[in-house]
Each structure stands twice: as C-alpha cells, then as structure tokens.
C-alpha cells in the first residue's frame, strides 16, 4: 500500500484546523479498522490525521461517573481499576475485543465511530445509557449513544466533528450486568451479542436493560424486551415471553458469518440466559 500523508497534531484545535484545511482527510485513532480497510482497497482519503497524540482525547476520568477519552486505547481503559469495578460489563466486552495486540491500538472512540453493528463495546455502553461528547467548529454537543449510530458504518457525527469522550453515569444501585457474545472461535467478530443489566427488588425486576449487537443495522437497545420483564418477577413464563419478543425485536441479516434465523435464535437464548444468570445473583440477597 502506497503511504498516505500522515499528520499527528498534539492539540484538539490543531486537529480540527487540519481537518478543515485538508479536504478529503480522515481522522484515525487506533487504526485497527482504518488500516485494514485501506489495505483491502477502500477509497483512499487525501491524508490521515492521527488523534493519538492529543492528550485531551486520550485522558480518562473515572470516579462515580466516567468520562472515557475517545482516543484512549482499550488496553489503557482496561487498566483502570475503577472502570473494571464500576462498569464490569464494559470491561468484559472490551476484554473480548479481538486480541491483546489489537486492544493496545484500538480505541473506544474508534470502536463506536466505525458504527459497525458488531462493535463489542456498544451493547455494554447502551446498557449503561452512555453519551458521546462531540466537538466541532461550533463547539461541543452531547448525544445519547443510541442516537449516535445512523446506519452501518455511518454515525450522526458531522464531517467536521470529532468524538471527544464517552460519558457514563454511575450504575443504578444494585445493578447486575452481563455480556454474552457468540463467536466462531475465541478471536472473532460477534455473530450476535447481548449486554444485559438488571436490578431486582423484592423479587421484581425494577430496572431492565438489554442491548444487542450484530443483529440490526446498528447496535440497539431492546426496549420491548425490557418492558416485558420490567415490573415483573422473572418467572419462566415471563422469560419465555421476553425471549420471544427479543427474537422479534431484532432484525438481523444473513451473511457469511451466520444466518438471520440463527442470529435471532441466539439473541433469544442469550436474553433468557442473561436474565436467569442476573436474577440468580439477587437470590441470596433477598
């Protein structure tokens, strides 16, 4: 592959200015997707603008809530104890992303900006109601992650904007979470994935979150599935109903990794398994 002009600004302002002055240039963070696509013959941008040298983008603050730098590597994020302890489902999803080598390079922002239906971090972040902070010439704006994805490979970020950070609120008190990913071998893109969050009080599901990957044009919440359980005890009948609804709620396609029917089926199984596993965690405490 012939090399492209490569810029490595060290401030946000410089990055935005470069983007404005270089028509057809593209931002690049970890490069684990961009480089693969360029090698595969994707249209070549006029230049690449690296975001990895910008401290504002690689810095994360994690305490009661979390502000995760969009250009922080997944490995750096996984090294934050407070993140692993506070939002274990996100850590679990990130830990299942590809390989240690890829996690050293890949960024959370890149994982989201690719807007791939299979982005591993997305379902976990959706379960936590994450927001994305965008910055452009007009300043900053905040979008719910659910609003961020438009269609496969396309976000609602403006051409002159970049993703600053991913913001996550403190988890609901008592929240239990899990992430289930269907893959062919251990190092694989998700064929279907489910992240789930549950709070139970007095045997009743009082807070339910499901999000799924690889089963719709973009990573998605499953509100109807959530509604089927919320306010109810997780009885066999309720779980079966949630499972049925989940299978209807997703809209997978058939590709060489898996058939639509199979993916639908897996989503149902995972919704059931996640619900049972999370409900079981409340059994001892009540």
């Amino acid at each position: 592959m012939h090399p492209l002009p490569y810029h490595r600004p060290t401030s946000l302002e410089a990055a935005l200015e470069l983007k404005a002055s270089l028509p057809g240039a593209r931002f690049i963070a970890g490069g684990t997707d961009v480089m693969v696509r360029l090698k595969g013959g994707a249209p070549r941008p006029s230049a690449l603008i690296s975001l990895r040298g910008i401290a504002e983008l690689t810095r994360s603050e994690v305490a009661q809530s979390a502000r995760l730098g969009a250009a922080a590597s997944v490995a750096d994020l996984l090294a934050i104890d407070a993140l692993r302890e506070g939002w274990p489902v996100l850590a679990d999803a990130m830990n299942q992303m590809a390989s240690p080598q890829i996690r050293s390079s890949a960024t959370l922002g890149g994982n989201l900006c690719n807007a791939a239906p299979c982005a591993d971090s997305a379902p976990a972040l959706l379960v936590h109601g994450a927001r994305v902070v965008l910055r452009g010439p007009q300043g900053e704006r905040v979008l719910a992650l659910e609003e961020f994805f438009a269609e496969p490979g396309v976000t609602r970020m403006g051409a002159d904007e970049l993703l600053m950070s991913i913001d996550v609120d403190p988890p609901e008190p008592g929240l239990q979470t899990t992430f289930l990913k269907k893959k062919r071998v251990a190092m694989d893109i998700a064929i279907a994935s489910v992240a789930a969050g549950l709070v139970m009080n007095d045997g009743i599901c009082t807070h339910v979150r499901f999000a799924a990957g690889s089963v719709a044009p973009v990573p998605m919440r499953l509100p109807a599935t959530e509604a089927a359980l919320c306010g109810h005890p997780p009885t066999d009948a309720r779980i079966a109903e949630a499972r049925r609804i989940a299978e209807e709620e997703v809209s997978p396609i058939t590709d060489i990794r898996g058939g639509a029917d199979y993916r639908r089926r897996i989503i149902g199984v995972y919704v059931e398994r996640a619900t049972r596993a999370l409900a079981a965690r409340f059994e001892g405490s009540e």
């Binding site: 002009p5 490595r8 090698k39 690296s50 490995a75 390989s99 240690p100 080598q101 050293s104 390079s105």
Partner: protein, 157 residues
C-alpha cells in the same frame, strides 16, 4: 517527515513519506526482518512487537506513532551473542517451535504477557495468545513454552 524512536535499546531514526507501517519500516529500511507479516490485518500476530512494553501488531501501527517510544522486536531479546532470553530458551526447550514463522510474534506476545503477569494460569496464557495463530503445533507445546518461560524468568530474578 522523520521518526525517531528506541529500537531494542538503540536510538534510530527513519524518514517517512507519511503513513508507512511500523512493520514495513522495521523489515525494510531498518533491516529487522525477524518480525514477520502473516496476514497484514491484525488477525495472526506474526508481527507482534512491544511498544513501551505493550504488545502491538506492527502491521497496523503507523511508524509515526512510535515517535519517542521504545520498540522491542525479536532481535532485541537475546542478552548476549550465543545466548537466548528466557522466553526464547523456553520455546526452544519445550518444543514450541515448528515451522517457526509464528514464533517471533508468539514469543513477543508471551513476553508482553509475562511482563504484566509473571505467573499466568493456563487460561490466561491462552487468552493472551488468542491473537497469535499457529498452524503447526496445536498450541500445546506453545502453552508449555510460556509456562516454562515463566519459570525461567522466575529463576533468573
């Protein structure tokens, strides 16, 4: 554009047009062909190097990103001529090497794991090597090599 970094403990510099990948710079102008290209897409790990101690796929990493950083390749492990590092020694002794094409990357990924976790459980080793494909060994003797490397490193310290 010029990139300067530490390669196996020595300062090096190399001129770049732009987005040249670290792997191509290492294998080309810097003449370090021990790092292999197995897939060019971050799927096989044959090109694994350490950058500031972390494992990276050199096939996806623009060389410009290692400015000022410390890069370690397979050529940088042996402590002295005729000697091997504990990781290399372990792979040689425990039968972790067959065709050898995955070996440099496998050893670099193992070293990165052991640098972070000196005494990993089997499952941790397998998880850490998930991005390093081998078609010859079925991995059994590779896992044993990593365990042996952990032991050799323990003896050495």
């Amino acid at each position: 554009m010029e990139v300067r970094f530490t390669l196996n403990g020595r300062e090096v510099s190399c001129s770049l047009v732009g987005s040249e990948l670290l792997l191509d710079v290492l294998r080309g102008p810097l003449g370090h062909r021990g790092t292999k290209e197995g897939c060019g897409k971050g799927e096989c790990g044959a090109c694994t190097v350490q950058v500031d101690g972390h494992p990276f796929n050199a096939c996806l990493l623009p060389a410009a990103e290692v400015e000022g950083r410390a890069v370690t390749t397979i050529e940088g492990l042996a402590p002295a001529p005729g000697e091997l590092s504990p990781e290399q020694q372990a792979f040689v002794e425990a039968g972790g090497i067959q065709c050898g094409f995955c070996t440099p990357g496998m050893i670099m990924a193992s070293k990165a794991l052991l640098d972070a976790d000196p005494d990993p459980a089997d499952a941790d080793i397998r998880h850490a090597l998930v991005g390093n494909l081998c078609r010859c060994t079925g991995y059994a003797q590779i896992i044993e090599s990593v365990r042996r490397a952990a032991a050799l490193r323990g003896e050495g310290s």
